[in-house]
Structure formats: structure tokens, C-alpha cells
């Protein structure tokens, strides 16, 4: 266990240079964006003088180096700056929007795992059967249907035609007040607060967008599960287990699946990362107040502080996710380890 702790510690340390790199790169890249925020925020009718006033007010009249050190200094005191676009501190924005995106992503990923893993396993156990074909159809559909299309289609079907889903208006109907902030996940927070009504309302809102994301995430997970299971089932240790007369449940569950889980877990890490990106379109369609739409708007407006804050928080999140996956892999599989 000690070596494992040391490994985790070393992984953490490895993240430090990447974070420093990210700070520098995100700063430089936002400055390299075309478009002039001073001109943008001065408004359509502004003249040269008022643009210059805005430039000074935003601190953009200083040199890049000076701006960079001011930025880093602020970072250390936990100040990410103020988003010009929304007029609120970037930290506040991220704190309210990141949980929204994470809640959606986790739910979507959960749905995807619940469907994709059993599907992949079954397809691998009975290759060529109808379930294998169904798996193939779902995978192809999931990959080829753009998320905004799936989203609009689901809205059309379940909201517009059938009237089963609530109006696609974000995380909660306006008539409900958000539950007390604990985790930032409305479903969890409302449960913690013991407010069943709000929980149901929040759950209803999240079903369709999560399903949209889930359908999208399903494909790589199902494919990976199927391939990994096929691999495991064809391996020597499964043959040995079967030859020794172990029940097929034990063979599948303990031997084959436990081994197949490793590549699936790695895939999950990747899927999670790109789901956070794919969120943007789903957020747009369902008016979800997440981090994706915030970032897009910030980019359009050359809102430096907001873009930097977004890139930084995303990078930290990726580092965390990778770290978590690596740790999980080490815990599951004794073969994985830096010391071999």
C-alpha cells in the first residue's frame, strides 16, 4: 500500500508542471485570439475616445508581461477576475456552472454505462446474435447522430408531441427555487434538503439532456466493452477456468469481466473528457446553464478572464479525472504500477 501511496503522490506531482504550462498557454492563447475586447465592450456606437477609456478600465493598455504577472498574482489569491460578459466574478460563474455541467455529464455517463456495459458484455458472449446486431446499430447511431439533433428529436417527441417531458428550460422550472447549495447538484442537494418535490422536478429536467448525452457516449463504451470482453473470453485463463469446470457466471464475472474492465475504465476517462466538451451543444438545445455555453459566449466576446478561468478549470478537472482513473486502475489491477 505504501508504494501505491507513493505512486499516487508522484502522479500528483507530475500534474504540477502541466498546470503551470496550462496557465501560461491559456494566457498567451487568449491574447492571441482575434478581436479586441475593448472595442467589443465599448459597444456598437462608441468612438475612439470611449474605446480608449474602456481599454484603460480593463487594464488592456498595459504590456502583456505586466498583465500576466497581475493575472498570476490574482490567481494565487484565488481571484480569477471578473467576466466582462456576465459582469460577475469568474470564480462565481464557474462555481455555479461547473456543477450544472458535471451533474449532466455524470448522469449522461451513468446512463451510458448502464446500457453500454451489459450490452457490450452480452454482445461479446453471443457474437453474431440479435443482441450483437442491436449493439452494432446502437453504436453506429450513437456515433453518427449529432447530439443537437438527438436533443431536438427527443424534445420534439417527448415534449412537443407526447407532452411527457417538462419544457426544456434548464435545470429547474422557474417556479422552484434551487435547493440549498451543498454539492451544486440539484438532484443530490434536494435529497439532502429532504425536498422530494424539487428532487422530482430536477430529475424530470435532467432526463432528456442526460439521455441525449448518454446516447452519444454509449458508442465508444459499448464497443470497448465488447472488444475487451471478446479478448478476455478468448484468453488462456478463461479457457483454464472453463476447463476447471467453474460456473459460467464466475468465469464471466470474476475472470473475464474483471480483466475487461481495465480498458473500459480507461475509455471511460476519455469519454468523460470529451463529454464535457460535447456538452456545449446539448446545453444550448436544453437551455442548460452549464460551463460549455459560458465558454462559447466568452470566446465570442474575447472575454479573457472568463476564457482563462474556463481553460484552467477544465485542465484541472482533466488532471483530476486522469488521476482518479489511474488510482482506480492501480487499485483494481495489481499488475499496473510504475515500479512494475
Amino acid at each position: 500500500m505504501r508504494t501505491k501511496l507513493a505512486q499516487v503522490g508522484r502522479r500528483l506531482l507530475q500534474a504540477v508542471p502541466s498546470v503551470i504550462g496550462i496557465i501560461v498557454i491559456s494566457f498567451a492563447l487568449t491574447r492571441a485570439l482575434p478581436g479586441d475586447p475593448a472595442v467589443y465592450f465599448a459597444g456598437a456606437m462608441a468612438d475612439e475616445k470611449s474605446i480608449a477609456e474602456v481599454r484603460v478600465a480593463l487594464g488592456l493598455d498595459r504590456s502583456w508581461i505586466e498583465q500576466f504577472f497581475i493575472y498570476v498574482g490574482n490567481l494565487f489569491s484565488g481571484n480569477l477576475g471578473v467576466s466582462l460578459n456576465t459582469g460577475r466574478p469568474v470564480l462565481t460563474e464557474l462555481m455555479t456552472r461547473l456543477p450544472a455541467s458535471l451533474e449532466l455529464t455524470f448522469t449522461g455517463l451513468g446512463i451510458a454505462i448502464l446500457i453500454a456495459v451489459p450490452l457490450g458484455v452480452l454482445a461479446a458472449v453471443r457474437p453474431g446474435s440479435w443482441i450483437d446486431h442491436m449493439c452494432r446499430v446502437l453504436v453506429t447511431a450513437g456515433v453518427s447522430l449529432p447530439t443537437f439533433f438527438t436533443g431536438l428529436f427527443l424534445i420534439y417527441l417527448f415534449y412537443y408531441l407526447l407532452g411527457l417531458a417538462p419544457s426544456p428550460l434548464g435545470r429547474l422550472d422557474i417556479l422552484f427555487f434551487p435547493p440549498e447549495h451543498v454539492t451544486g447538484f440539484y438532484t443530490l442537494d434536494s435529497l439532502i434538503a429532504g425536498d422530494g418535490e424539487t428532487f422530482v422536478a430536477a430529475l424530470k429536467q435532467i432526463v432528456l439532456p442526460a439521455l441525449t448525452l448518454g446516447l452519444f457516449a454509449l458508442a465508444p463504451i459499448a464497443r470497448m466493452t465488447r472488444a475487451a470482453m471478446l479478448n478476455a473470453l478468448a484468453s488462456d485463463f478463461v479457457r483454464t477456468a472453463r476447463a476447471n469446470g467453474l460456473s459460467s457466471a464466475t468465469v464471466l464475472g470474476t475472470y473475464a469481466f474483471r480483466n475487461a474492465a481495465l480498458p473500459v475504465l480507461t475509455t471511460l476517462g476519455m469519454v468523460f473528457s470529451f463529454l464535457l466538451g460535447a456538452n456545449v451543444l446539448v446545453e444550448k438545445v436544453f437551455s442548460w446553464p452549464g460551463i460549455g455555453s459560458f465558454a462559447i459566449e466568452a470566446l465570442i466576446a474575447s472575454d479573457y478572464a472568463a476564457v482563462q478561468g474556463f481553460v484552467l478549470s477544465m485542465a484541472l478537472l482533466f488532471v483530476l479525472v486522469n488521476l482518479a482513473i489511474d488510482t482506480l486502475l492501480t487499485l483494481i489491477d495489481p499488475r499496473i504500477g510504475l515500479d512494475g
Binding site: 482575434p34 478581436g35 479586441d36 472595442v39 467589443y40 465592450f41 465599448a42 459597444g43 456598437a44 456606437m45 462608441a46 468612438d47 475616445k49 470611449s50 477609456e53 474602456v54 478600465a57 480593463l58 466582462l84 460578459n85 456576465t86 459582469g87 460577475r88 466574478p89 462565481t92 460563474e93 456552472r97 443537437f148 431536438l152 424534445i155 420534439y156 415534449y159 412537443y160 407532452g163 417538462p166 419544457s167 426544456p168 428550460l169 434548464g170 435545470r171 422550472d173 422557474i174 417556479l175 422552484f176 427555487f177 422536478a201 446545453e283 444550448k284 438545445v285 436544453f286 437551455s287 446553464p289 455555453s293 459560458f294 465570442i300 466576446a301 474575447s302
Partner: protein, 540 residues
Amino acid sequence: MRRRDFLKTAGIAAGASVLPFLRYLPAHAASREGTLVVVTGDGINSLDLHRKGTNRPSYQVTVNIYDRLVRFGVKTLPDGSLSYDSTKIEPEVAESWSISEDGMSLTFKISPKAKFWDGTQITAEDVKWSFDRAVSLGGFPGVQMKAGSMSDPSQFVAVDAMTFRIDLPHASKLALPDLAVPVPFIINSKVAKEHATEADPWATEYLHQTPAGSGPFKLTRWDPGQQFLYERNDAWELGPKPALERVIVREVPSAATRRALLEKGDADFYMDVPPKDAKELMEGGKLKVSGAPIDNCLHVLGLNVNFAPFDNKLVRQAIAYAVPYAEILQASAYGRGKPMFGGAEAEPSTAEWPQPFPYATDLEKAKSLLTEAGFPDGFETTLSYNLGLADWQEPTALLIQEALGKIGISVTLDKIPGANWRTAALVEKRLPMHLENFGGWLNYPDYYFFWAYQDGHLFNSSNYRNDEIEALVVETLHMDVADPKYDDNVKRMIAIAFDEVPRIPLYQPYLDAAMQPSVDGYVAWFHRQLGLLGISKVQA
């Protein structure tokens, strides 16, 4: 954590009055009388228009929660739609006003009925503080005030508690209407000053999230990026009492979702509907679409005279004859535009603006003009458009590209992201051929010419310069419309614009809003925002 405090107080205020019975009406609050559910594509980013970086959608808040000295009246259009009336100025905070003999000072009597939300009387001091703020903070508000010849705090005088005077450097017809635009709104200066600091003397941080006004509505809740909530100010007496008790404005970024919400009946009102949806909803017959041509606004094809061969008038005229106006009106405006082509007169007989230009699609004529200009085989150029306005600019650009191809001009399309558009088109003015959509808030032709035809001015993206126009605009801009020379001057400007065509008007766009049949009283405003004042909602 100012925001949290704000939300807390706002939340309590809203909660106390809204929650008890709204809880029993989930999802179908839209069907409730007196509550209007509005869906909009663009979110607001501030409650203070004077603040730097406040976006256009936020003007809506200022329009509804603050009062101004005066406001524009409302008129009924021939098709039954309502529109603001740029010629009628009505009292608001000022119960009456007088203009001095020489036109250089305006004196306003403040109405004793004008009360802030906290119950205190609006005084001349408040007005002065608010106006000083508008001209001192810089940026867009300063520019707009300047259009009314107001740029220096010393021009604003609080004569006594109930009398306010504006001194102008010269008489101008633009001064009074400029007081009815959203910018010179009146703030409760006592409240604001309490929150002003050394570094922030105009309390921009405070007013950004905590309005202090007197208007017919109060903003009781704002969840940035999601929604905001208006509630009626029952004590407001500066006009007919608003019929709506409560207005919920939800941000819905996807236009398809907005339309679905409206058609499904979960939303009552959809502002700024894209022309395609407006047309289809209108034909669907279940919903009401109300719109009016936007005053003093034109969608134009700009030809930059700094780039050859657009410096040649004949080339510009040739292009004006090649543009497929009717197709553009159908394909990109879906008929929701007023034609600006095929005018009968080469010399305008009225000073009406905008009016149709004397060009129509005529490829033969275009070709012969091009030959005459020395380009019988055409030339190559680029047509730039703004991706932020792709819904009308993209189809328009494609149609123009195709049509110009027929007379030998080969056009490459150049898409410019919204954030860069202004710099490229208006500041650096470096786009040879481009689409542009300026509209003036103050509805005077000379005001349009001032911004769009005068050399060096922002919306003159064509780099056009004509000495006669320069002189005419300077002479006419502040001239009273009753002046005998006014009509002639304007007609002369229009005649030059007809002949020289640095800007080829495509059509005058509509501002469309779609709503449930139960919603009545929507007015199309020059500021293109939703004014809640006259709107009512009655269940049939």
C-alpha cells in the same frame, strides 16, 4: 459575495409574493392571467445600462424598471400592429417642459407623482446625478447623449427641487427625443450615493446588480444565464397602470426550442423571432405575430470606395442593377421586410426616409454600365459578412454572389466572426464589399446620413466622402423639421445617395415578436427591446 446577498434579498422578496400560489401551478404558469412568460435568445449581463460592457439585451431591463423625463407615444399601424411614434413625445417624470426662445435651454417640471420605489420623491438632484453619470462614465451612453448635444455635466442644472434645466450649446431637434431613449434613465441618487466609493463614485458595482429606480416594474430576481423576474410596481402613477403583475423572462439559446415552447403554450411571448419562424408561425394561424419595419434601419450592401473598382460610380450602379432584390426579400427575409428597390423617381419628391432607391434587378443594364466603366469582362472581389448575423446575411451573400457572377464579377465569400466584425467593417473599414445593418435610434434621415454617409463616421463602412453631403449634414442635423430648408436639404442628400450608391439598400427589416393570442398591446420599439408597459394578457 455581494451577489449572494443580492440573490438572498431578491429571493426573499420574490419568494414572499410569488411562491405560495405559484407552487400549485407548475409548468403552466403560462396559462395564468397577469403572468407573462417570455423566452429570449440572449441573456442580460447587467442591470445598469451605463456600466461598461453591458450588452444590448440588458437595455430591456433599463427600459422597464426605470423612468425617463419623457417617453415616445404609441401609434397603430395600418395592419393593426402597434409601433412607437417618433413624432409624439409624452410626459413621464417631467409633467411638463418648455423650450427657450432660442432653443438652447430646456426646462422640465418634475411631476409630484414621480416617486422612487422607496417612496421618496424624484427630485431635480436625482435627474442631474443620473444625467451626469450618463455623460461621465464614457462608452456608449456618452456617445448617445452626445447625439442630443449633451456631453458635459455643467449642462445639467437643478434649478430647484422640482425644476430641471438642460443647457445646449446650440438648438437641436435631437435633444428632446434623445431624452426618451433608454440611456438617460433616472436613478435614485440618494440610494446610489450611499453605495458609491472613492474608486467607484458612480456606484457602478452596486447598480450593476441592485437597481434603484422608479419604473412601472421592479426586477425581483436575476439568475444570470437562466432567467429574471419582473414584478409590477403598484405605486407607479406616471401612466396607465400596467396590466401585467409578473413577467418571467427565460433565456433559451436554441431558436428551435424557443419556438417549440411557444407553440406548446408554455411560453407567452417570443421576442425577436427570426424571419423564417415569423412567417411560418403567422401562416400556422395559432399564434399572433406582430411586427413593424424598424424605423431608420436598412439592410445594405456596402461598396467600399477605397477599393478599386468600387471608387467608380458606374461600377456601383452596375451592382445596384444586378442585385436580386426580390429573391433576397423572399429567401433571407422571408418577406418580413419592406422593399427598398424599384423606386420610380431618380430625384426624390419627398423627404421620407427610408424610401425605395431607383434601382431594380436589370442584368442588361448592369452589364452595359459595367462595360461603360471599362470592365466588360467583370473583375474579382470578396463579399464579407458577419457570422453573428448569418441567418439573413448568409443567404443574401449567396444570392448576390450568384447574381454578380452573371455579369462577370466573380465573388469570393468571406465569413467574419461576430466578435471581429465591428473592428473589420466599422473601425478599420477594410472590407471591399460587405453587408451592413445600421439603424438609427433617433428617427431622422439626417441622423442616418450623419452616421452612415459622413466621412470617418462609424457606420460609414464604405469610406464614402462627398463634400456636399458633409455640408448638408452639418447644416441639417440640428435643424428643426419645420424649417423651410429642412425638406430640401434631406431630399438633396437622398438624391446624392440614389445616384452615388456607396450603400445599396436591400430592404428595411421587420422586428417581429410572436405571442399567444391572449397577449395584447405589444409595441415595436426603436430600441428593439420588449417594453412591458402596454402589454396585457387576458384568457379568451
